[in-house]
């Protein structure tokens, strides 16, 4: 048994024989031709065929993966008939009497180099498009037919990486999953796999060795693990994991597109918590209604220096675009002395949970905070953005944040950079102070998001990392429930909505309580969306709420 680790970019369990994608590489010869006109015509014919093929692929892509995938091939079509590209090839053939293959190969390299040297990641990516289009013309010129899957049974398809034109031409009924040495979460293989609902693992590097061809392999797309020739025990484990996944899918099929509505017609929004742009896929698969908490810490943790405005902007924009108009609430940096980041140069603290953290750092380092706010507002033009601020205790903090936001918006206007005027501003309610002052805070913001993990820890004076506290740390403690009820009442009086983004949101024992006190939104991990929807749909609040509300307000302790 051999285990290799990559990066999972499409979830799912796959098991089957490993099959390496066969890529026919014909050697490109350079020689002199005598009839340059005939050679030019040979290129023109190949170019026409390529454009026709790309038209067919565009239609196929539109059917399989939507307009965006189709546009890629339409761009390829335009590249194939680009005048500069064509003229460069023409010059090599007619003036230097070069054969069409070498003229295409040289011109492709030249244009790919132009794109690769641009200072824009998107444009650099176009170098691969030029190469892909040119390879198509070369294949036509040389009569090369690209390798499909020559196998009777479905396989786990392995490759160094797959070009979009390669993946789209594959016989999808033969593929159980993709595993590649290179590639990323945004590569076409990953997108296709997610559309097809099969696992994909990228970035396996040299560990993915062709000597494993034909061997039995199991893969887990959520962890990025690939196991070659698993033991019986591991194999059985994967079989049961897959069964669980199938059950989850059956639930999804049943509940997908359904409302989060109680039997008596009360609705509550169910959003997702995510920690990086790659998690958006899980939100979509599990039918999350939006993103209630996008933690921005990954930007800081995955970096050896402060992330630039552009880096942040790209990450936020990617999530907003992928969510396609659904609400995305991004929480500003929530770093503290408990999460050590060298370049922040935070002094050591005796008690980091109560120290210089989250919004306190942001407000103490205006330059740093401003960069994040600018990136957020720039990204706001690409979707439905909400911004929330962690660790608020006082009204003045919120007012200071709003002043900084106005400054940032003013600058963007001056610079002619677009941003949305409909960004919702919210704060986390995670300190008892914020809960107690929620009537005043509600006058400052559009929404509250209750971080129940910290709210519980601060209210009960129980360190949640300390396992010895056992029964003293009660996540259902009445004091916290009362605070939440008060927060919701104060919010609703002021037209402010309230969400829960802590772990308590997904706690199915609490759903009736949240419905009773009138919480508007629950933000949970993507996997918890459907079980929660299931639970909500089973509740009749006319039966459950009165007793719950009476017991919250009662001064009598229940007898155990």
């Amino acid at each position: 048994m051999i285990t290799i680790q990559g990066k999972g970019v499409s979830t799912g369990i796959g098991m089957g024989p490993l099959y390496f994608y066969r890529r026919t590489k014909a050697e490109i010869k350079t020689y002199t031709v005598t009839d340059t006109e005939a050679e030019w015509q040979r290129f023109k014919d190949a170019q026409t065929t390529a454009i026709e093929q790309l038209g067919v692929l565009a239609d196929k892509a539109r059917e399989e993966a939507g307009d965006e995938a189709a546009m890629l091939f339409e761009t390829h079509q335009m590249m194939a008939e680009d005048l500069d590209y064509e003229e460069a090839i023409q010059a090599l053939i007619q003036e230097e009497a070069r054969n069409a293959e070498s003229a295409v190969a040289d011109t492709a390299a030249q244009f790919a180099e132009m794109f690769a040297s641009m200072d824009d990641a998107y444009m650099q990516g176009r170098a691969a498009d030029v190469k892909d289009v040119s390879q198509r013309i070369l294949n036509i010129l040389m009569g090369v037919v690209q390798g499909g899957i020559n196998s009777e049974v479905p396989v786990l398809l392995a490759a160094d990486d797959l070009a979009p034109s390669e993946t789209i031409q594959l016989d999808k009924s033969k593929i159980l999953g993709f595993i590649t040495s290179y590639g990323s979460g945004s590569s076409h293989t990953a997108i296709l796999a997610r559309t097809m609902g099969i696992p994909a693992i990228v970035g396996l590097g040299d560990a993915l060795d062709p000597i494993y061809e034909g061997r039995l392999v199991v893969v887990d797309g959520s962890t990025g693990t690939v196991i070659i020739e698993p033991t019986d025990e591991i194999f059985a484990d994967f079989v049961s994991k897959r069964e669980e996944q199938l059950r989850q899918r059956a639930l999804l099929e049943q509940l997908k597109g359904e409302e989060n509505i109680t039997k008596d017609g009360k609705t509550i929004r169910v959003y997702c918590n995510i920690g990086s742009p790659e998690d958006v896929h899980a939100v979509q698969v599990n039918d999350g209604g939006g993103i209630g908490l996008f933690r921005s810490e990954f930007l800081y943790l995955n970096s050896s220096t402060y992330p630039t405005e552009d880096e942040q902007f790209e990450a936020y924009k990617s999530v907003l675009t992928q969510m396609n108009g659904k609400e995305v609430i991004i929480r500003t940096c929530d770093i503290g002395a408990d999460k050590q980041i060298d370049y922040f140069e935070l002094p050591k603290e005796e008690n980091p949970a109560m120290g210089m953290r989250a919004l306190r750092i942001s407000l103490s380092r205006p330059g740093f905070f401003r960069t994040q706010l600018r990136a957020l507002y720039r990204a706001s033009a690409y979707g439905n953005l909400g911004i929330m601020f962690p660790m608020v205790t006082s009204v003045w903090e919120v007012r200071e944040v709003k002043r900084l936001i106005e400054d940032v918006k003013h600058d963007l206007r001056e610079e002619g950079i677009p941003y949305s005027d409909h960004v919702e501003i919210g704060i986390m309610i995670e300190t008892p102070a914020a809960a107690v002052l929620s009537d005043r805070l509600a006058k400052e913001v559009d929404f509250f998001s209750c971080g129940t993990n910290d709210l519980t820890q601060y209210t009960l004076a129980c360190d949640r990392q300390n396992n010895d506290l056992g029964r003293f740390y009660d996540p259902h403690h009445l004091s916290v429930v009362r605070l939440l009820k008060m927060v919701v009442e104060n919010a609703h009086k002021n037209g402010v909505w309230v969400g829960i983004c802590g772990e308590l949101g997904a706690d199915l024992e609490m759903t009736e309580t949240f419905l009773a006190i009138g919480v508007d939104e629950l933000s949970v991990s993507p996997r918890a969306v459907l079980p929660l929807r299931n639970k909500i749909r089973s509740i009749d609040t006319t039966e459950t709420s009165p007793a719950i509300l009476a017991s919250i307000d009662s001064d009598e302790s229940p007898k155990f």
């Binding site: 546009m71 339409e74 761009t75 335009m78 590249m79 680009d82 005048l83 500069d84 590209y85 244009f111 132009m114 794109f115 641009m118 200072d119 824009d120 998107y122 444009m123 176009r126 030029v130 033009a381 690409y382 610079e415 002619g416 950079i417 677009p418």
Partner: protein, 85 residues
């Protein structure tokens, strides 16, 4: 020759798709239509050269129109920029 200046408002700048649309628009006219950024220029019929300018949101370009139908082309292209870029 007629020309106008334009600041790109499309958040993605002149990327593949708008560049392709612009090239298609340019085919409607006989005039030579050129986009200039920082002294680098590209005829709008030439997709890759146009993308090669790397025009981003917020950047200002000069667009020149020259040829027998330059009045109509000028109006048409200007309207196209305003509507799409």
């Amino acid at each position: 020759m007629k020309s106008f200046e334009y600041t790109i408002k499309d958040p993605t700048g002149i990327h593949a798709r708008p560049a392709g649309m612009l090239s298609r628009e340019g085919k409607k006219y006989k005039s030579a239509i050129t986009v200039i950024k920082n002294g680098k220029s590209a005829n709008i019929l030439r997709l890759m050269a146009l993308m090669g300018l790397g025009v981003k949101c917020g950047e200002t370009v000069t667009v020149t129109v020259e040829g027998e139908d330059e009045d109509t082309a000028f109006e048409g292209i200007k309207a196209f920029f305003e509507a799409n870029l």
